[in-house]
C-alpha cells in the first residue's frame, strides 16, 4: 500500500485554541481528551494488549510519533458501563461482546498460525480480522454472536468514532473543528474563512 498523504499538511486545528472559534466548555473537554488518556481498568493485561494490536490495524498510524489513543477510550467506556442507549437483541451485552471478540481472535489466531493474536505480524493480524468481518473466524468463544455485526457495528464504529474525535484527525482531514462562538462566514464551495484550513489548491499554488 502506498503511503498516505494527508491533504492539509500545514493545518493544525489546535492553533485556534485561543481564538473566538473555541469557548471554555470546548477547551475543557478537548484538554481532557488530550491530557488524560484513561488507564486500563476494564480489560486484563492480555486483553488490553490484544485490543491495542487490533486498533493498530483498524486505524494504522505509522506516520505519527504519538498515535491517537483508541483502545484506552474503549476500556474506559466499558468500565463506566456507558451504553449507547440500546443494543441489538441478538447481541450479547456490551461488556460480554468485547470479551468474546478478544478471546475469539486469539482462538482464530491459534487455529491458523499457532500463536495468540498479539504475536502475529501485521499481515496475519489483518487476515484474522478479515475473517471476523466475513464471519469465518474459528473458535468457540464467539458462541452465537454474529462476527460481522460486532466487527462493523461495534468494534469498527467505536474505533472510528474515537479516532475522528481527536484534534489530530480533525487537522488531518481539514475539518474546521470547534466553531463557537465565531462560526463561519463563507459558505460557498472553494471559499474559506481565514481561520479554516487552506484550500488544497492554495497549497499546490
Amino acid at each position: 500500500m502506498s503511503r498516505f498523504q494527508p491533504p492539509y499538511p500545514g493545518y493544525d486545528v489546535l492553533a485556534k485554541w485561543d481564538t473566538p472559534s473555541w469557548n471554555d466548555p470546548t477547551r475543557r473537554v478537548v484538554a481532557e481528551r488530550l491530557t488524560r488518556v484513561p488507564e486500563r481498568r476494564f480489560f486484563d493485561p492480555h486483553e488490553w494488549a490484544t485490543l491495542h494490536a487490533v486498533c493498530d490495524r483498524l486505524i494504522p498510524q505509522p506516520d505519527r510519533l504519538e498515535p491517537v489513543p483508541i483502545a484506552p477510550f474503549i476500556d474506559d467506556k466499558l468500565h463506566r458501563h456507558q451504553s449507547d442507549g440500546w443494543r441489538e437483541e441478538s447481541m450479547p451485552r456490551m461488556e460480554d461482546a468485547w470479551r468474546r471478540f478478544l478471546k475469539g481472535i486469539d482462538e482464530a489466531a491459534q487455529a491458523r498460525y499457532g500463536r495468540p493474536f498479539v504475536d502475529l505480524g501485521p499481515e496475519w493480524r489483518d487476515l484474522v480480522l478479515r475473517a471476523v468481518q466475513k464471519r469465518e473466524a474459528e473458535g468457540g468463544a464467539w458462541g452465537d454472536m454474529d462476527q460481522k455485526t460486532f466487527f462493523e457495528k461495534s468494534l469498527l464504529r467505536e474505533a472510528a468514532g474515537i479516532y475522528y474525535a481527536h484534534p489530530a484527525a480533525w487537522s488531518e482531514i481539514g475539518f474546521g473543528g470547534p466553531a463557537s462562538p465565531r462560526g463561519y462566514v463563507r459558505l460557498v464551495a472553494d471559499r474559506r474563512d481565514p481561520w479554516e484550513a487552506p484550500l488544497e489548491r492554495e497549497d499546490e499554488a
Binding site: F4, G85, R87, F175, Y184
Partner: protein, 556 residues
C-alpha cells in the same frame, strides 16, 4: 455541580437558558397538591403543551428524566461530549431490521429531542391526513389538514422559522417569520442536481434564526446542530416553549424519571410516581399527559399496569405500543471536484419534496430528501458501519471529507401492527423494565427507498459527483400509540385523550397514525398547540372531568 448529577430546577428557580449562570423564578408545587396537569416529557409535544396550558391558567408540573441545560455554558463544540443529550439508558432493539436508537432518534434532556434535532421544519402534505381514503394506504388522521394548516402557522411563529418566500409544494402558506438562510455549498449540490433533473428545490425551512430574536443571535453556521446549539440560535423547545412555560407559572422538574402513572379504583388517573434526587415520590394530579415519545410513552403505559388494567393503561384496544414507524434514511454520497466543506452551516440547507407530491410511483407514501453535512465522528461511523472499510484505506477515504456531498431521504414507512414496543426482562437504573423495540420493513418500504436511491444516484451524478456509494439507516420515530376515530383500533381520540381513561392524555410523536414523508417535529408541535386549544375548550364547557362516552363497561 453538573446538570446531569443534581436537579437544577428547585427552590423556586430554574436555569435561565439565555444567561450564563442565570436563573429565572419558577413556581413550585407540593407533591401533595393536586395540580391540573402532570406532563411526562418536555420535548416537542410535552414542552409545548406545558407552556400553552400554563398560559391558559392551569397548574402544570412537567417532568423530564434529562438535565436542564444552559446551552451557552454547558454545550461544547464536540460530538463525543455532546452525546450527553441522547437517551443512553438501556433499550433492546429487535425484529427483522433492528433500528438504532440513542443518538439516532432519542433525546433525553429538558426540551427533548429538539435540543439536538437538525431543525428541518416541514409541513405534511394535506392528503396525508386522509392517507387511507385519498391515497389508499395506512390510516386516516382524525384531524383535518385545514385545521392543521392554522396550527402549523402558529408553531412556525413560535419557533421563528427561517424559510423561503414561496415554497414550491403544497397549498399556499403565509410568509415564514424569518428570511431564509443562504444555502451552503452542500445545499448548492442539491440545487444543481435538481436543475439538471428538472425537479423543484427550496432552501429548507429551518428552526434557526436568520436575524436576532430576544437575547439570541442569528445562526453563525458552526454546524454542530446535532450536538446541541451553543449559541441559542436554534429554536429548540428548550429556548422557546420552556421559558414561556416557566414564565406562565409551570414547574419543570429535571432529572425526574416517571416510573408509573397511578390510577384509582374508578379507573381514573390520580398522578405520577417519579424518582428524583435519590428517592421515589408521588405527584397528585387531576390530569396526566404522557409525552415521552414513541418508545417511552408506550413503555410508561405498559409499566403502569394494574389489576384493573392488566395490559397497561389505555390499552383496551391492544394498540398501545403498536404501529411504530421510522423514516427510512437511505443516502447516496459522492466526491466533488471542488471543496464543499459541509461542516459549515446547518446540515440540511436545501430540500426536495418532489416525490412527496408526485403520485406516479410504484409505492405508497413519499419521501423528501436533503443535502447533508455530518461532522467527522458521525460521518466516519456511518461510513464504516455501511462500507466495512478499515485500515489505511479508511484514513484515505476520510481524507476526502472536505470534498464530499450527499443526499439523504426522510422516507415514509407504513404503519404495521407488528412494529412496536413491548417490555423486556431487563431493568434500567431505576429498576424499571426496559423497552424492547421491534421493527421490520415491508415490501412497500423497500420499494420506496430503492426508488429514492436510484433517483438520488442520478441526481448526484448530474451535479458532478463521482465515486458514489450508498448508506442506509433510519431516522425519527412516529406512532406507537396511534390516535384514531374509534376506541377499538386506536389509543386516543383526535384530542390526544385516551379512550379508556378520560383524564389521561398523550401529546407527542407516538400519536401519529401514519409517518408522512417529512421530519416530524413541526407536526408534533402543531398537534400540541391544537391539543392545548381543545383542552381549554373542553374545560370551558366543563367536559374535562367526565365525558359522555366514558368507557365504564371497559373493565369487564
Amino acid at each position: 455541580m453538573s446538570a446531569e448529577d443534581t436537579p437544577r430546577a428547585v427552590h423556586g428557580r430554574a436555569p435561565d437558558v439565555f444567561r450564563r449562570g442565570g436563573w429565572v423564578p419558577m413556581r413550585c408545587f407540593d407533591d401533595e397538591e393536586e395540580v391540573d396537569f402532570a406532563i411526562v416529557g418536555t420535548g416537542a409535544g410535552g414542552g409545548t403543551l406545558a407552556a400553552r396550558l400554563a398560559e391558559a391558567g392551569f397548574s402544570v408540573v412537567a417532568f423530564d428524566v434529562g438535565a436542564f441545560y444552559r446551552p451557552l455554558e454547558d454545550f461544547a463544540s464536540d460530538e463525543r461530549e455532546q452525546s450527553k443529550l441522547y437517551w443512553r439508558d438501556e433499550r433492546v432493539s429487535g425484529g427483522e431490521h433492528p433500528i438504532s436508537l440513542g443518538s439516532n432518534n432519542s433525546g433525553q434532556s429538558v426540551g427533548g429531542s429538539t435540543v439536538h434535532f437538525q431543525m428541518v421544519t416541514l409541513r405534511f402534505r394535506p392528503e396525508w391526513f386522509k392517507a387511507r381514503t385519498k391515497l389508499g394506504y395506512g390510516r386516516d388522521w382524525p384531524v383535518g389538514w385545514r385545521e392543521m394548516w392554522g396550527y402549523y402557522a402558529k408553531a412556525e411563529a413560535a419557533m421563528a422559522i427561517s424559510g423561503p418566500i414561496s415554497y414550491p409544494w403544497g397549498p399556499p402558506r403565509g410568509r415564514y417569520p424569518y428570511r431564509a438562510h443562504e444555502v451552503n455549498a452542500a445545499g448548492q449540490v442539491l440545487v444543481r442536481g435538481a436543475r439538471a433533473m428538472g425537479v423543484a428545490w427550496a432552501p429548507t425551512p429551518l428552526a434557526t434564526i436568520s436575524a436576532p430574536r430576544g437575547l439570541a443571535h442569528p445562526c453563525v453556521y458552526r454546524g454542530f446542530c446535532k450536538s446541541g446549539c451553543s449559541t441559542n440560535a436554534k429554536q429548540s423547545v428548550l429556548v422557546t416553549y420552556i421559558p414561556r412555560a416557566l414564565k406562565a407559572g409551570a414547574e419543570v422538574r429535571d432529572l425526574a424519571m416517571v416510573g408509573q402513572i397511578e390510577t384509582d379504583d374508578a379507573g381514573r388517573a390520580t398522578g405520577v410516581v417519579y424518582y428524583r434526587d435519590g428517592r421515589w415520590r408521588r405527584q397528585r394530579a387531576r390530569n396526566v399527559v404522557a409525552a415521552g415519545y414513541s418508545i417511552e410513552t408506550p413503555r410508561l403505559l405498559l409499566n403502569s399496569a394494574t389489576a384493573r388494567f392488566p395490559d397497561g393503561l389505555a390499552n383496551s384496544s391492544g394498540t398501545v405500543g403498536t404501529h411504530l414507524m421510522v423514516h427510512s434514511n437511505h443516502a447516496v454520497w459522492g466526491e466533488m471536484d471542488e471543496e464543499i466543506r459541509w461542516y459549515k452551516g446547518p446540515p440540511s440547507m436545501a430540500v426536495c419534496e418532489h416525490w412527496n407530491y408526485e403520485d406516479q410511483k410504484d409505492f405508497h407514501g413519499g419521501y423528501a430528501f436533503m443535502s447533508q453535512g455530518p461532522l467527522p465522528v458521525d460521518y466516519a461511523q456511518s461510513f464504516v458501519s455501511n462500507t466495512g472499510v478499515w485500515g489505511m484505506e479508511l484514513r484515505r477515504r476520510m481524507a476526502n471529507y472536505n470534498r464530499m456531498a450527499g443526499l439523504k431521504i426522510v422516507g415514509e414507512t407504513m404503519p404495521q401492527e407488528k412494529n412496536g414496543v413491548t417490555l423486556a426482562e431487563e431493568r434500567d437504573r431505576f429498576g424499571l423494565p426496559v423497552a424492547r423495540v421491534t421493527f421490520g420493513y415491508c415490501d412497500n418500504d423497500r420499494r420506496l427507498y430503492e426508488h429514492s436511491l436510484r433517483f438520488m444516484r442520478r441526481m448526484l451524478k448530474a451535479a458532478g459527483a463521482g465515486d458514489l456509494f450508498e448508506t442506509e439507516s433510519t431516522a425519527h420515530l412516529m406512532g406507537g400509540c396511534p390516535m384514531g376515530f374509534k376506541p377499538d383500533d386506536s389509543v386516543t381520540d383526535a384530542d390526544g385523550r385516551t379512550w379508556d381513561i378520560d383524564n389521561l392524555w398523550i401529546c407527542d410523536g407516538s400519536l401519529f397514525p401514519t409517518a408522512g414523508g417529512v421530519n416530524p417535529s413541526l407536526t408534533i408541535v402543531a398537534m400540541a398547540e391544537r391539543i392545548a386549544d381543545r383542552i381549554v375548550a373542553l374545560a370551558g364547557r366543563g367536559e374535562l372531568e367526565r365525558r359522555g362516552r366514558r368507557l365504564g363497561a371497559l373493565a369487564g
